[in-house]
């Protein structure tokens, strides 16, 4: 395997892993503080039990996210030294702020985890809120750094040199808002459905139903609202990409020839040689409308760009279809849940209802990872859009493939270990009686 491929695989693999842990660690504190608030308001011991078991989940996911994040902060330099040499100072702002936010999160989490019956109740609860807010802030800042790679700004590129650096302009690059919004909603959707799915399974198995129903409701409420809002954010992203990265949009839709009133392809199998997409569903003029808000707008095709600037069309197209398909499904499920609420809970007694949410549990994360594949593979061959190619940034150290193998083994074991640990948490939760106040 070539060094470049190995480095890209390692980066992709470690990011895919980190994203799951970081998202859960970022969103679950919100579920936790809602349950905590309900305990404070109602003094119903079930909520206390739930809060304490969720906080253990938060602690485990936070640390796994933190160590994989520490590894990533090194990997940026270890794998892409040329990129960091030039980009490091420019995107230093989001990273140093992220470091600070992460620090605040760690301190607040220290207060929260160890603060039971030691610090004033209200202050204790607020530290939980701080954990959540600083976690989301960290996420947004890191995404802003990624946004800069898609929409480099805050410097002048003259004769191969990065001059007149403006770190604040780089932080607020044109892509930061759409990407951060989309990612934050995705994190809430994915975590909401995943956590809800786990509790749905317990209800389905008729274990400690009262507690798991309360847990399900809190998690799915966040997930459902985020899933319903997500298409709006997706629309903003699509319009933004149509303008800034037309090649990426063309790859997402496997759109080869420039045309006006371009149709939208749903599904289909891409043949990059013949430039054909077979077995697709075609919606006339929809692509033009989605990208530019005008049914007759011109949408640039891949053939308008040099071949060596194309990303891997098939991967980007499939990933995009997966993301949108699952996103739609989750939005519908979110609406279903809200309808259930108004239907006076009769559906809550149906095993089919719980089965549906069990099946949906991993879907949010699949869509979220697919979305990252769209944005990251779709950015290729550039590491800094139109400035630096990925192949020029990779480390000269040979044998990266072995480091890749090491991470595959390490993170696979970690994933299994964390899953096992979580199942033990739930088992313990079902076996203990609810805490006394």
């Amino acid at each position: 395997m070539e060094n470049l491929d190995a480095a890209r695989l390692q980066m992709a693999f470690t990011l895919i892993f980190h994203i799951v842990f970081a998202c859960v660690g970022m969103v679950m504190p919100f579920f936790m503080v809602v349950a905590h608030k309900k305990w404070l308001n109602t003094r119903n011991p079930i909520y206390l039990t739930l809060t304490k078991s969720w906080q253990k989940g938060v602690a485990i996911f936070f640390v796994t996210g933190a160590v994989s994040g520490t590894a990533l902060s090194f990997e940026l330099g270890l794998l892409w030294p040329e990129f960091m040499k030039h980009a490091g100072p420019i995107i230093g702002m989001p990273f140093s702020l992220e470091g600070a936010a992460f620090f605040v999160e760690a301190i607040a989490l220290g207060f929260y985890l160890y603060g039971w019956n030691k610090i004033p109740e209200k202050f204790h609860w607020i530290t939980g809120i701080i954990v959540g807010i600083s976690g989301v802030a960290s996420g947004i800042l890191v995404v802003s750094a990624n946004g800069w790679m898609n929409a480099p700004s805050g410097f002048d590129y003259i004769n191969g040199e990065f001059l007149n650096i403006d770190p604040i302009k780089a932080l607020f690059n044109p892509a930061w808002f759409t990407q951060a919004l989309h990612m934050t909603l995705a994190a809430f959707t994915a975590t909401g459905f995943a956590v809800a799915g786990v509790h749905a399974y317990q209800i389905f198995k008729k274990r400690n139903i009262e507690l798991h129903k309360k847990a399900f409701k809190i998690a799915i409420t966040f997930g459902a609202i985020a899933a319903i809002l997500q298409p709006l954010s997706g629309d903003l992203s699509a319009k933004d990409i149509a303008e800034r990265q037309p090649v990426k949009l063309a790859a997402m839709e496997a759109h080869y020839d420039t045309s006006t009133g371009a149709p939208l392809y749903i599904g289909g199998i891409v043949n990059n040689e013949t430039q054909e997409v077979s077995y697709k569903i075609e919606i006339p003029k929809a692509l033009s409308f989605l990208a530019f808000g005008d049914f007759d707008a011109e949408v640039k095709g891949l053939n308008d760009f040099p071949k060596d600037e194309h990303p891997n069309v098939a991967i980007v197209h499939y990933a995009f279809q997966t993301m949108v398909g699952i996103g739609t499904l989750l939005m519908l499920a979110g609406i279903l849940f809200l309808i259930t609420l108004s239907r006076k809970r009769t559906w809550f007694n149906s095993p089919k209802f719980w089965l549906l949410f069990i099946i949906l549990a991993p879907m949010g994360f699949i869509a979220l990872e697919a979305g990252w594949i769209v944005t990251e593979v779709g950015r290729q061959p550039w590491i800094i859009h139109h400035i630096m190619k990925t192949k020029d940034a990779v480390t000269p150290v040979p044998g990266i493939v072995y480091s890749f193998y090491m991470y595959v083994v390490l993170y696979s074991i970690l994933t299994i270990a964390v899953t096992w640990l979580m199942s033990r948490q739930i088992k313990a939760l079902n076996n203990t009686k609810n805490m006394e106040a």
């Binding site: 330099g77 100072p89 702002m93 470091g99 620090f103 220290g110 770190p167 150290v397 640990l421």
Partner: protein, 340 residues
């Protein structure tokens, strides 16, 4: 502003060595303890470190971010030449981090604890060794910094720079320093009936640190390691070394006497003196290659970057440090702050 940035870099380094060092050391102390003492150490460490544990390890992220933002050229040489020890260090940090949480957060305390404990203790020893090796490599003068990398083979470029006796000695030195810090910390934190255990451990650790430290310096001196040579001809370094040697006496007495506060203060002084002696004589040339030393300020980021970074660090520090102190105080983690 560059001084603010350098200050935060040095500040993060000192705190990382002290806090994460004591934390790594806890695993090492546990590793070299009898079964009964292991349980005591595990419990005490968890009480002392638990709430701040994660925060202690963020200092290295702050250091890395400062390095790449403000000193990109310097950082670039490190990540390319020292790819292997840094990756191994990350492996250690990862395993150690998860082992720490697993052993305290697993819902059932059963046989799996044996595995977590083993993972935690081993990683606690290996990680600081690789951290020390990395630092040793930076100052050993074996790093090849060249544009024509094709003139050298893999071993010369990516192995010899760190897999040499001086770097490995530095690695062992750092690991023993961690164990020393932890043992001293535990003197003050352990319940009074257990204090004797840590007095003994701290005594042994002090002897080990001094022995390995002297060995490292002697080896460097007789093998013409450039860092050690300029080091021994520098006034500040010599003063720091003499002071360090003199302070060994009160340190020894305070450890033997089981003084909870004094032992800690004198241990901290030792670490500070070691860092001062290691970093100031050469500053800003804190990277020794086969072709001579390289300044950390070479290719420093432009003023606009340093300026925003400095302000960010000041604001961040203003938020984080009081929070951190409040955290330490709230949980009475620093027992010596208590009146009785």
């Amino acid at each position: 502003m560059i001084y603010v940035v350098l200050f935060f870099l040095a500040f993060s380094l000192v705190l990382y060595v002290l806090l994460a060092g004591a934390d790594f050391g806890a695993g090492i102390v546990e590793l070299f303890s009898s079964k009964e003492n292991q349980a005591i150490t595990k419990k005490t460490v968890y009480r002392v470190m638990g709430p701040v544990w994660e925060a202690n390890h963020i200092w290295i992220i702050i250091m890395i971010v400062i390095l790449w933002v403000a000193f990109p050229i310097y950082y670039n040489i490190l990540v390319v030449s020292l790819h292997i020890p840094l990756t191994l260090m990350l492996l250690g940090i990862t395993l150690r981090g998860v082992a720490f949480v697993f052993r305290h957060y697993d819902a059932y305390k059963d046989k799996s604890q044996v595995l977590y404990d083993w993972m935690f203790k081993t990683a606690s020893l290996v990680t600081p060794i690789f951290l020390g090796i990395t630092f040793g490599a930076i100052i050993s003068g074996e790093i090849i910094h060249t544009i024509s990398i094709t003139d050298y083979n893999f071993k010369e470029l990516y192995i010899d720079s760190w897999f040499n006796i001086f770097s490995i000695l530095t690695g062992l030195f750092f690991a023993s320093l961690c164990a020393f810090l932890s043992a001293v910390l535990l003197i003050g934190e352990a319940a009074s009936i257990n204090r004797k255990i840590y007095v003994k451990k701290a005594t042994i650790a002090t002897l080990v640190v001094v022995t390995i430290g002297s060995l490292t310096m002697l080896y460097g001196y007789f093998n013409q390691v450039p860092f050690v040579l300029t080091f021994t001809s520098n006034v500040y370094a010599i003063i720091a070394i003499i002071l360090s040697a003199l302070f060994l006496i009160p340190l020894w007495i305070s450890i033997r006497g089981g003084h909870r506060i004094l032992s800690r203060i004198f241990a901290g002084i030792q670490v500070l003196l070691i860092l001062v002696a290691a970093l100031t004589p050469h500053f800003p040339n804190i990277l020794f290659t086969t072709q001579g030393s390289i300044s950390i300020l070479q290719g420093v980021a432009p003023e606009s970057v340093i300026h925003t970074l400095g302000i960010t660090l000041l604001i961040g520090g203003g938020v984080i440090l009081p929070g951190l102190f409040h955290l330490l105080k709230s949980f009475k983690m620093i027992k010596i702050l208590e009146r009785n």
